[in-house]
């Protein structure tokens, strides 16, 4: 079953890349524009630090490391599974979501397979470069830190997936609404800065309830040797968030009304 699902997913990626390569110039321009756009926040941080202002106990490379890892997280999740959001919104709006439901796979999986977005690999490239620059200017982390960071990073991908599922589910009911991305960006903005700058209630929410901090802040903190919440508790938070998102998706799917004709 898993082998078969993986084969479908790989075929979906091949198909998406082949489709995107039909317009290569647009693809490369798209990646470049995305790269510039994603660098806006790090540039703002850079300018703030240049003007002499700083987050307490965090130097510029430490802050940029959070944003670099956050970009890598987006660079992996956006092409690999975040496409379920635009794919669902567009298909529900056009009426072609029906075509996913006549396939012998889960609708969510079909949205995933047909929603691979090769253009979003630009985020991964940008995040990799930014993280590399930061790490080159910071004390090296040991193997245990890297392993721990990897576990938190994977959990962060679970949080990204949960967000994608909630947004896609909302797209079933809230037809044609691309403002969901802006809402998502606003909410996740809490995860691209050092957690110590937030009040305790907010830290609790973004660590355990809507665990945005898992996406970039905690993995980066681990590499920097800074304290993070215990793995057990944050894992529970991520599992809860994921379960909630899947439940929400099922509810939204059951209320799908299709387009006329």
């Amino acid at each position: 079953m898993i082998k078969s699902a993986f084969a479908v997913y790989i075929q979906g990626i091949k198909t998406a890349i082949a489709s995107r390569m039909a317009y290569r110039t647009d693809y490369f321009i798209g990646i470049t524009v995305m790269l510039i756009w994603e660098m806006v926040v790090p540039m703002v941080v850079f300018l703030i630090y240049r003007s002499g202002v700083a987050f307490p106990n965090w130097n510029i490379y430490e802050v940029l490391l959070i944003q670099g890892i956050f970009m890598i997280a987006k660079g992996i999740s956006y092409p690999c599974f975040f496409g379920i959001v635009w794919n669902t919104i567009v298909r529900v709006q056009e009426g072609t979501f029906d075509l996913l439901l006549i396939k012998p796979r889960s609708a969510l999986f079909m949205a995933l397979v047909t929603g691979f977005d090769a253009e979003d690999l630009g985020k991964l490239l940008g995040g990799g470069v930014l993280t590399g620059i930061c790490l080159a200017n910071l004390p090296p982390a040991n193997l245990a830190q890297w392993l721990n960071m990897f576990i938190y990073f994977i959990l962060g991908q679970g949080v990204m997936f949960s967000f994608a599922v909630i947004m896609a589910g909302t797209g079933i009911k809230w037809v044609g609404n691309f403002r969901l991305y802006e809402i998502f960006d606003s909410v996740t903005a809490f995860g691209i800065y050092p957690q110590s700058i937030f009040a305790k209630p907010i830290r609790i929410i973004i660590s355990y309830i809507i665990p945005i901090a898992m996406i970039g802040a905690f993995p980066a903190s681990i590499l920097l040797g800074k304290p993070v919440p215990q793995l057990g508790w944050v894992s529970l938070g991520v599992a809860g968030f994921l379960t909630l998102s899947l439940f929400y998706w099922r509810r939204m799917l059951a209320s799908y009304t299709s387009a006329g004709g």
Partner: protein, 331 residues
């Protein structure tokens, strides 16, 4: 007696939509207040379809046929009612069920616009987990039958509508479905492409595939369907073999009559004048229950002196149009 492959009992679908109005004022108002509108798209319909059938599922726009088909294909949940297809309840066992059916939507493509149909077939092979040798065998047979070998490697966007539709049929049938739902499969196609597709459907039907056909093209219906289900205002108004359709309003014939004498004052019981080309050449509808053909011929020849004539069945489109207009909603 052959077995029922589709059984539908008291199927009902009600949904809520919102009235928005068309003016700018209405649009602004709808930002704050929207009037909900309850729509009963399907009203307690029941029917059965036998295995190996080609069933024409017809109705005017907004009649409820697409909603019914979407419930039958597992896309929509009904409000209430029972459906059993191949032993499955479509919306409850969707994944297992859809592995055994296929669907072609004339206005929704399963092909991928920028890449060749061959790549879309390969993606579907993976989705349906079709063994490689069976996939190759099925693909080769259908490519030959539909004569689309030359277009397999071309991007879909450069294909003609007919070529694309043929490829849609291949996608729908690669996994050997037992039932195929066709929603407007020949819409916009030229005569040659339509004939090719009809021939393909007939051939697949002979091999045992059951087809449910939704269309507004009555040539498709006459050429393919053996059973007709007519739906209007969410209710079934006809469900019988196609032969019974032309006799729905009684046994009638269309008569084209050329005579030596003028037909201007020609009247007989059971005879309705349809149109007249000139004084001595006209078309009539004859109700055989009122005036048998033999009696009509004798009287018409005596009064008008028949020079030439033809007798035809009432065209199916006339019957269907009349049926669409018979039952109006009860407000």
């Amino acid at each position: 007696m052959s077995e029922s492959i589709i059984t539908v009992r008291n199927l009902n679908k009600t949904y809520t939509t919102y009235e928005r109005g068309s003016s700018f004022k209405d649009s602004v108002k709808s930002l704050f207040v929207r009037k909900p509108l309850k729509v009963e798209a399907v009203k307690n319909i029941s029917f059965e379809i036998q295995k190996g059938e080609i069933c024409g599922f017809l109705g005017p726009n907004g009649a409820g046929k697409s909603t019914t088909l979407k419930i039958l294909t597992g896309i929509l949940f009904p409000t209430h009612g029972e459906v059993n297809i191949l032993g499955y309840v479509p919306w409850k066992q969707r994944r297992e069920y859809v592995a055994r059916i296929g669907a072609v939507f004339g206005q929704k493509s399963q092909l991928l616009w920028d890449i060749p149909p061959a790549d879309a077939f390969e993606l579907n092979r993976a989705i349906y987990n079709i063994p490689r040798d069976r996939f190759k065998k099925n693909l080769a047979a259908m490519v030959e039958l539909l004569d689309v070998g030359e277009v397999m490697g071309k991007p879909t966007r450069v294909l003609s509508l007919g070529e694309r539709m043929k490829c849609e049929f291949i996608i729908a049938m690669l996994h050997d479905p037992e039932i195929v739902f066709l929603d407007e499969p020949t819409i916009g196609l030229d005569v040659v492409a339509k004939e090719k597709i009809r021939g393909f459907v007939k051939e697949m039907n002979q091999k045992g595939t059951t087809f449910i056909l939704t269309t507004h093209d009555l040539d498709d219906v006459e050429s393919l369907a053996r059973q007709i289900i007519l739906i209007n205002h969410g209710e079934i108004i006809f469900n019988d073999p196609i032969e019974k359709l032309s006799r729905f309003f009684g046994c009638k014939k269309k008569i084209n009559l050329q005579t030596d004498r003028s037909q201007i004052d020609f009247q007989l019981p059971g005879l309705k004048s349809l149109d007249r080309r000139n004084d001595t050449h006209g078309n009539y509808e004859l109700d055989l229950d009122i005036l048998p053909l033999k009696a009509f011929l004798a009287q018409a020849d005596e009064i008008l002196c028949i020079k030439d004539m033809s007798i035809e069945e009432i065209p199916i489109e006339s019957v269907i149009t009349a049926l669409y207009e018979t039952k109006k909603p009860e407000d």
